[in-house]
Symmetry: C2
Amino acid sequence: MDVFEALYTTRAMRRVSEDPIPDDVLKQMVDAGIRAPSGSNRQGWKFIVVTDPEIKNQLGDSYREAWDFYVKEFYGGTSDMGASNVLDDEKAQQVVRISKSAAWLSENFHKVPAMFVVLSRNDPTGSSIYPAIWSIMLAGRAHGVGTCLTTVLGMFKPEKAFEILSIPNDKGWKIDAVITAGYPLGKWGVAKRNPVDEVTYLNTWGNETNWNLKEPLWNY
Amino acid sequence: MDVFEALYTTRAMRRVSEDPIPDDVLKQMVDAGIRAPSGSNRQGWKFIVVTDPEIKNQLGDSYREAWDFYVKEFYGGTSDMGASNVLDDEKAQQVVRISKSAAWLSENFHKVPAMFVVLSRNDPTGSSIYPAIWSIMLAGRAHGVGTCLTTVLGMFKPEKAFEILSIPNDKGWKIDAVITAGYPLGKWGVAKRNPVDEVTYLNTWGNETNWNLKEPLWNY
């Protein structure tokens, strides 16, 4: 697969089938991940690949608890993640779509065929772990595997996940993300984004690019 | 370019020539970057593409100051970034290589043809900005452009960079990274990493994969 196809069409794929992912694919996803850069090449990372149904069940319970806590804490428990507060209709629609898809993942977390629990230490900025995480997702895309990056399990009540996965809690490790992975039920496509012109300046803040870039530079 | 070639061979390329990068390439690097996922698709990012020699000179001074502060603070000012404290010979050699290359970048920062100053807000974990940053670097690789991710400018004494780039300091923006970019003086290749077997577990911490993966699953 061309690198630009991967970069432009790897979007959050929360709804996936229960079909298992072959070991060779899981292996290459991690192997591509560890080629990513990390500060001073320290590689302060660990990956736990979870496919065991019992562990997935337990993680699913833990994830739902963290997700419910997150939704309650940040959106007052409304199921639309605050979409009713968004004025712009198109954006509100998108938030509704995301919140439905995220709720689907929360309910079906244990059925996702594989998860990559990603841990790091001594990485205060995230700069040494998220390139590896994104590489795992891009490598998955090349194999037709849909992924979704979620941080809630590590951010809210991670103690249970540590217990379930037998992670030592005295070595400085933290769970940065869980990447869920499976063959998508939906379709691949280029995600809609605010165009480059709106988020890019030349040389100094506020200095418009005049690149006039409203459409993606790559087509699916 | 195949996605795996990009994932396996995009390594920190600090030493680059002064040849300018065409606008079309800079554009596509940002355009690929903004396709990356961000939490709830919030896209809380800004990119300042710096090619102006005067701004680069000023940033170079600021970078050198931050870099010297970093080396002094973390390595007691030793030029080898603590390599003399590393017992394993091979690793010590690598740290020496990295420190030399990093010192080169510090001295030549202002001569690098283009820089992407990447800003975010409301992203405590880095999960919503480093995928975009890594995508910019991968897209550069596809165009033969070498990049290096550096966080020191944002971490140490960022006030000066804010001033140079006229970034408002009351809107919650922070500089996550500067990506330096240019045509490499060195060669592309697969970076050496601790193998998958050493950093991956199956289902629970400590449970070896037995994947016996000592060599990269992709060859250059």
